[in-house]
């Protein structure tokens, strides 16, 4: 009775003491010892410097590779200490938000570029590194580089850029009598009908996450209106063009064929029972997804090996009568942005992380990270990933994912609106109108 409370009391007191004595590190490594100039950095100072680096490649082999690179850099620059924080994607977004809101961004952190990054820049949380990277920015793929610019100034550097395309099960296609991958939208609808006739689920879709469904609409809009209409809409917030209604109509034509797996509206992208798992276990014939798809499918196979069936890739088909070039791409990647308080050494470290050597090692992992350092493309050996890379090279224009190109708020509205087409609760006109209205209030 009272003895129990006494022991609880003691435990509590000890805990309090422990808590107080093992007080934590300060949340931001103080850059106090680094020179405070913002001009292009001269040779790094010999004084001790700490760089806070946050990335989201929280599983091996990527995690190990980043660690190795950090170790190599610090070995070559003994005065630099890299504080590494590795987080899972969603946890990262949450934690970054609180740090941003408290005005203490990390020195170097994961970024997807586009509108999300622009909002951070507008809030004065990023460092302008245009001058710092001027000497070596040509080593990076220009299309990707552009995604990390705001008003022509550089705020981050990419290390990965891919493209969304169709991953398909060649064996199931053969079974349905489809000999070549569809090159036009009409052919795709045809292929869907053939697969359904064979009793095969044509397409796997993770409707719950909404963004997999957004890919279809975005590509159709790109094909229908061309890159100028798309870029213009993103930039000015005017989504009233006819291509956006057209995209909805074409998508509806697909949805009406009921090509998706049962219960797709509640299926996630990854995890058991999700889109990737369905595809990996041959429950569906194809999926429209980015370059990480093989990795996720592999994680869902019985022994985590490559998928057993013949995997192939084909680019998003062209749309008859559309103004867009069939080579235009839709996709995105990963990169690092630099925080406003970062020491100058950060940019030098960043340069090391995207150097040819590092990029080649990333490519060799064939993990779905497609390096953006010029010349590193050859390090990727997986044939499907090579297809993606080839198409990326052919594309004159790559549109960043809509929910990243625009602001998070508008991106949410876009994803929601498109989902209504899949659920049959919205019309193509309504979708375009909803997005337009929301864009006006931004």
């Amino acid at each position: 009775m009272s003895t129990r409370w006494r022991s609880v009391g003691i435990l509590g007191a000890v805990a309090l003491l422990v808590g107080a004595c093992t007080g934590g590190a300060s949340p931001v490594a103080s850059p106090s010892e680094a020179p405070t100039s913002v001009a292009p950095s001269v040779a790094p100072s010999a004084e001790p410097v700490e760089i806070d680096w946050w990335h989201i490649q929280n599983n091996d082999p990527g995690k190990q590779l980043w660690q190795d690179l950090a170790d190599e850099y610090t070995a070559a620059h003994p005065n630099v200490k890299v504080n590494l924080t590795v987080l899972e994607n969603e946890a990262f977004k949450t934690k970054l938000t609180t740090e941003m809101q408290a005005k203490t961004p990390p020195d170097l952190f994961q970024s997807w570029g586009g509108g999300g990054m622009a909002e951070q820049q507008k809030a004065g949380l990023l460092k302008d590194i245009t001058a710092d990277v001027a000497s070596w920015k040509d080593t990076i793929n220009p299309g990707a580089l552009g995604m990390y610019q705001v008003d022509g100034k550089q705020y981050g550097i990419p290390f990965d850029l891919g493209m969304v395309g169709f991953w398909y099960n060649k064996d199931l296609f053969d079974k349905a009598g489809i000999t070549t991958p569809p090159a036009t939208w009409a052919e795709l609808l045809d292929a869907v009908k053939k697969l359904t006739a064979e009793g095969i689920t044509p397409i796997a879709l993770g409707g719950k996450d909404k963004w997999p469904g957004m890919f279809y609409w975005a590509y159709l809009a790109l094909r229908a209106g061309g890159k100028d209409a798309m870029a213009n809409a993103v930039a000015t917030g005017d989504w009233s063009g006819t291509s956006f209604v057209e995209a909805g109509k074409q998508l509806k034509a697909l949805v009406d064929l009921e090509p998706f797996q049962e219960g797709f509206l509640a299926a996630p992208w990854d995890g058991a029972g999700g889109q990737a798992a369905s595809m990996a276990n041959e429950k569906a014939a194809m999926q429209l997804m980015g370059q990480w798809a093989p990795g996720t499918m592999q994680a869902n196979t019985p022994d985590k090996q490559k998928v057993k069936f013949n995997l192939g890739w084909f680019p998003f088909p062209s749309l008859e009568g559309g103004a867009g070039a069939p080579t235009d791409g839709f996709g995105g990647g990963n990169g690092f942005a630099v925080g406003k308080d970062a020491p100058p050494e950060t940019v030098d470290f960043l340069k090391f992380l995207v150097s040819s050597d590092a990029a080649n090692r990333w490519g060799a992992l064939n993990s779905g990270i497609l390096p953006t350092t010029v010349g590193a493309e050859t390090s990727v050996t997986d044939p499907d990933l090579k297809s993606v890379l080839e198409n990326r090279a052919k594309a004159e224009y790559v549109q960043l994912y809509l929910d990243q190109a625009t602001t998070p708020a508008l991106g949410g509205v876009i994803n929601d609106a498109i989902q209504t087409l899949y659920a049959g609760t919205g019309t193509p006109e309504q979708v375009a109108a909803t997005i337009s209205d929301a864009a006006k209030t931004q």
Binding site: W5, G19, G24, N59, G274
Partner: protein
């Protein structure tokens, strides 16, 4: 013996009573079976790999993949996170139970102006979604120098647990008769003495209940530790599970295994608390 008495009773009562007992037992067991299925699913799911979960969600694992469980148990991070979770849960539960008991005592057994207003003020904390307060809370914890410190989590957890705990304790404390308090003061025991030596021991079921609820609340907290901690060495169990997801993959089977293991300590707490729940006012002091 009790068995003879029981059979005598059964004979004496109508047959209905026996059937009623069987029906009751049957109902309890079937409800228990339904409730346990998802839990069992999680436990067994940990023995599959993610592919099996997709291709054969219903059947038993084939083959039984033990690596999910063994890998987790073998990793130091799991044990370190377990320890951190235990530490934070203990601190937060101790704080909330003690502070709430003190406050509930006053609410239940004293009259003072503004008492109900103050009580309502406390219940306000129940009504506001804590997630919204996370940013100001984060800034506050940092300013107090408690960032990356277990106390930085335990204190807000205790604070947000106060409303529920006070709400639950108040009726219990109220039901302790005033005669006891009078007797205690006659015996020379002060107000705190009565509180500590008479009221609290008598309120064991209630205290065990709120302690249990506080432990479970702290055990499953995700947002607070995510935001208030930085070094991975300080991570709690819910944060640890994020390592099994990446930007594009989720190792469902491993998550199931991990969470099943994380469940066990909390269930052990429950077993201990259960013994206290069975105690109560029938022991001693309140007869006559």
């Amino acid at each position: 013996m009790s068995t003879t008495r029981r059979s005598q009773r059964l004979e004496a009562e109508p047959l209905r009573r026996g059937l009623a007992a069987v029906a009751r037992y049957g109902l309890l067991l079937s409800v228990a079976a339904i409730i346990i299925i998802p839990v069992g699913y999680a436990v067994i799911g940990g023995f599959k790999d993610s592919a099996q979960l997709t291709t054969d969600p219903i059947g038993l694992p084939n083959p039984w993949v033990t690596s999910n469980y063994t890998d987790v148990l073998a990793s130091d991070s799991f044990w370190r996170q377990l320890l951190n979770s235990v530490l934070i849960a203990a601190m937060s539960t101790f704080l909330v139970a003690l502070f709430s008991a003190l406050a509930a005592f006053v609410f239940a057994r004293r009259v003072f102006p503004g008492r109900e207003v103050l009580f309502t003020l406390f219940t306000l904390g129940l009504l506001f979604p804590a997630a919204v307060a996370i940013l100001p809370l984060f800034i506050l914890v940092r300013d107090l120098g408690l960032y990356d410190n277990p106390l930085g989590i335990a204190l807000p957890e205790a604070a947000f647990g106060l409303p529920l705990t006070i709400l639950v304790l108040r009726p219990f404390f109220h039901s302790i008769p005033t005669e006891l308090e009078d007797a205690a003061s006659i015996d020379g025991c002060g107000q705190f003495g009565f509180f500590w030596r008479v009221l609290l021991p008598l309120s064991r079921p209630a205290l065990a209940t709120v302690a249990l609820l506080a432990i479970v609340f702290s055990w499953n907290q995700f947002l607070l530790p995510l935001v208030m901690l930085s070094s991975e060495a300080n991570w709690t169990l819910p944060l640890g599970v994020t390592n099994y997801s990446t930007q594009f993959t989720t190792d469902t089977a491993r998550i199931l295994a991990y969470t099943t293991l994380a469940l066990i300590p909390a269930l052990i707490f429950y077993v201990f608390a259960e013994r206290q729940l069975v105690g109560g006012l029938t022991s001693g002091a309140v007869k006559g």
